[in-house]
């Protein structure tokens, strides 16, 4: 088989299967054939990621991590799933039963719908909407509502505090998230994610045309990933959960399988934003070097996804949780101005003639404000190695 045939094997298989379906049922069959793999692959990835995350975090803290269930502990998610399925489903007596029940469902639903516009490989996207990116952010904003529903309906102080924290945080970080993505829209001139991925699939000598390799693209990627970490409530921005203060935040009153659904929704959201970052900045399904294009495109997508997941785990194992005022200050005083500067930088890149001068100028336009902002941020703060005093 030629590399192209291997690359398109899922697409051709689908077309082959569609040939056996009567014309009336074809739209439905096509939808099912496209949707079911996504519904299978990403939850499976969730299961694998939980093990990898726990093992990775363990190694970062010089522990072993889970290693009992199955070979090297890789059947741990099955054990966790059985456990959460057999646990009692507790609903607080004063809870708003309907909203309490709908919240995890809405969360998982919103996290799943987002995958409709993500190109997983060449010609592999469920719905090629010409406002795909807008769709992504629009559906992503429903997660906030789900989180609020979960927190409010539980009728618990902790969950309400956690939900309000989470919503405030997600709204604050949605602005830098969208503004960081705007530079790519400016460069690509399209909101369709497959088109954006296609735009980056060319090569100069062996180097790809990924947006991350430009000054504004790199800055945009870093800003996007920071905002994505905050959007998916992951450490170091996980204070909606804040075990030490508000126990588990908005899902404290959930147990059993609903709790597992929250977990699933959170991880699916993380995969989706990582997938979006890959599509916007890391060239989607395209190979990193021109001599590697024979590897199927979907493998590249998942390889990049795993790398980003590893980065998320690494960051989670490294940084302590921020304080609420630090979190908000970081969003409004650093992220937002930096993304606005980045938008200006992308415009500059677009209108300057290509060459070394352009690269230097555009890099300077990013680096100088960054240095200024970081000096502002550290002004008046005594940064020193903390000396520990023990109680006497």
């Amino acid at each position: 088989m030629t590399p192209v045939a291997v690359d398109q094997i899922f697409v051709t298989t689908k077309h082959l299967l569609m040939g056996y379906v009567p014309a009336f049922w074809q739209p439905l069959a096509s939808a099912i054939l496209s949707v079911v793999p996504v519904l299978v692959v990403f939850p499976a990835l969730f299961a694998v990621t939980t093990v990898l995350e726990r093992k990775g975090l363990g190694r970062i803290q010089n522990r072993l991590g889970p290693n009992r269930v199955g070979p090297f502990g890789f059947l741990q998610p099955a054990a966790d799933g059985i456990k959460s399925l057999t646990k009692e489903d507790v609903v607080p007596r004063d809870a708003d039963k309907v909203v309490h029940f709908l919240a995890p469902i809405l969360l998982v639903l919103a996290s799943f719908i987002v995958y409709a516009v993500l190109p997983i490989g060449r010609n592999m996207v469920i719905a090629d909407l010409n406002s795909g990116l807008l769709f992504f952010f629009a559906v992503g904003s429903m997660v906030e509502l789900a989180v609020f529903m979960a927190g409010w309906s539980s009728r618990s102080k902790y969950s309400l505090l956690g939900a309000m924290r989470a919503v405030a945080q997600m709204i604050s970080y949605e602005i830098p998230l969208v503004l960081a993505a705007v530079v790519v829209i400016m460069a690509a001139g399209s909101l369709s994610l497959p088109a954006i991925a296609e735009m980056q699939s060319g090569y100069t000598w062996i180097w790809p045309h990924w947006y991350v390799l430009t000054p504004w693209g790199f800055a945009g990627f870093v800003l996007f990933m920071i905002s994505a970490t905050a959007e998916s409530n992951r450490s170091p921005f996980d204070l909606p959960e804040g075990e030490s203060e508000i126990i588990a935040g908005y899902y404290i009153e959930y147990s059993g399988f609903k709790f597992a659904l929250f977990f699933l929704g959170e991880y699916l959201g993380m995969f989706a934003t990582s997938g979006l970052a890959i599509t916007l900045f890391l060239g989607g399904w395209s190979a990193p070097f021109s001599f590697l294009t024979w590897v199927p495109s979907y493998l590249w997508f998942f390889a990049k996804l795993l790398v980003l997941i590893a980065a998320f785990i690494w960051v989670r194992g490294t940084f302590p949780r921020l304080r609420m005022d630090q979190l908000m200050g970081f969003a409004w005083k650093f992220m937002l101005p930096m993304t606005l500067v980045n938008v200006v930088d992308a415009g500059l890149w677009h209108f300057m003639p290509s060459g070394v001068v352009r690269g230097v100028v555009c890099a300077a336009v990013i680096v100088i404000p960054f240095a200024l902002f970081s000096r502002r941020a550290q002004e008046g703060k005594k940064l020193q190695i903390r000396t520990y005093r023990y109680a006497e």
């Binding site: 190694r59 522990r63 072993l64 690494w314 194992g317 490294t318 940084f319 000096r375």
Partner: protein
């Protein structure tokens, strides 16, 4: 500049991550049920009752004075005095506990019962594998389950047990001139045997 500390932190955790695969001394984890850490002599878990000799009912050092019951902060000890008397470790006729229960789900391992016991009858155990399926009856230890021999005590806390045996032997010396009841002779020899080992 902002971000340098972030990168330093990332490098540190990466070093931990890869180091845990390379160097053995980084991983301090023990695979618990298969391997256990070496026992430390000073470790303590929950109280037990010491008896001398081989018969736990005869050799019971406890004279049911109920000081530990009164002193216990969480009140987890329950003692019922016996109607009759039997010779104690020193050979004096004393009461013995008809019932001696410790609820170790309540016990907080403070060791006050050991401190206040004038007869060296209650000591701290080191066993920590105490999980049980029934939280009521399995965690309420009665007299029989609490009794452990002096040899066991020597095994877990050798230094402490030796000094306790020396004290007991001295007390027995003082009590020896008086005519001892025939039944205590066996206990006495067993007690000295324990001290010698």
């Amino acid at each position: 500049m902002l971000g340098v500390g972030v990168l330093k932190g990332l490098v540190e955790t990466a070093r931990n991550f890869f180091g845990s695969y390379v160097s053995e001394e980084r991983l301090t984890t023990l695979q618990y049920p298969e391997e256990t850490s070496p026992r430390i002599e000073a470790s303590r878990s929950f109280p037990f009752l010491v008896y001398d000799g081989s018969d736990w009912q005869q050799g019971m050092r406890c004279v049911s004075c109920q000081i530990c019951e009164k002193e216990c902060p969480p009140k987890c000890i329950f003692i019922e005095k016996s109607p009759d008397k039997k010779p104690d470790a020193v050979g004096k006729m004393q009461f013995y506990p008809a019932k001696f229960d410790i609820d170790i789900s309540v016990c907080m391992s403070c060791q006050i019962c050991v401190e206040v016991c004038p007869f060296d009858a209650i000591k701290m155990d080191v066993d920590y594998n105490l999980s049980a399926t029934n939280r009521f009856s399995d965690l309420l230890l009665d007299k029989e389950r609490l009794s452990k021999s002096n040899e066991y005590y020597h095994e877990i806390h050798p230094t402490e047990a030796a000094s306790v045996d020396a004290d007991l032997a001295a007390a027995r010396e003082k009590a020896a001139p008086k005519p001892a009841a025939p039944a205590t002779a066996a206990v006495q020899t067993a007690g000295t045997g324990g001290a010698a080992s």
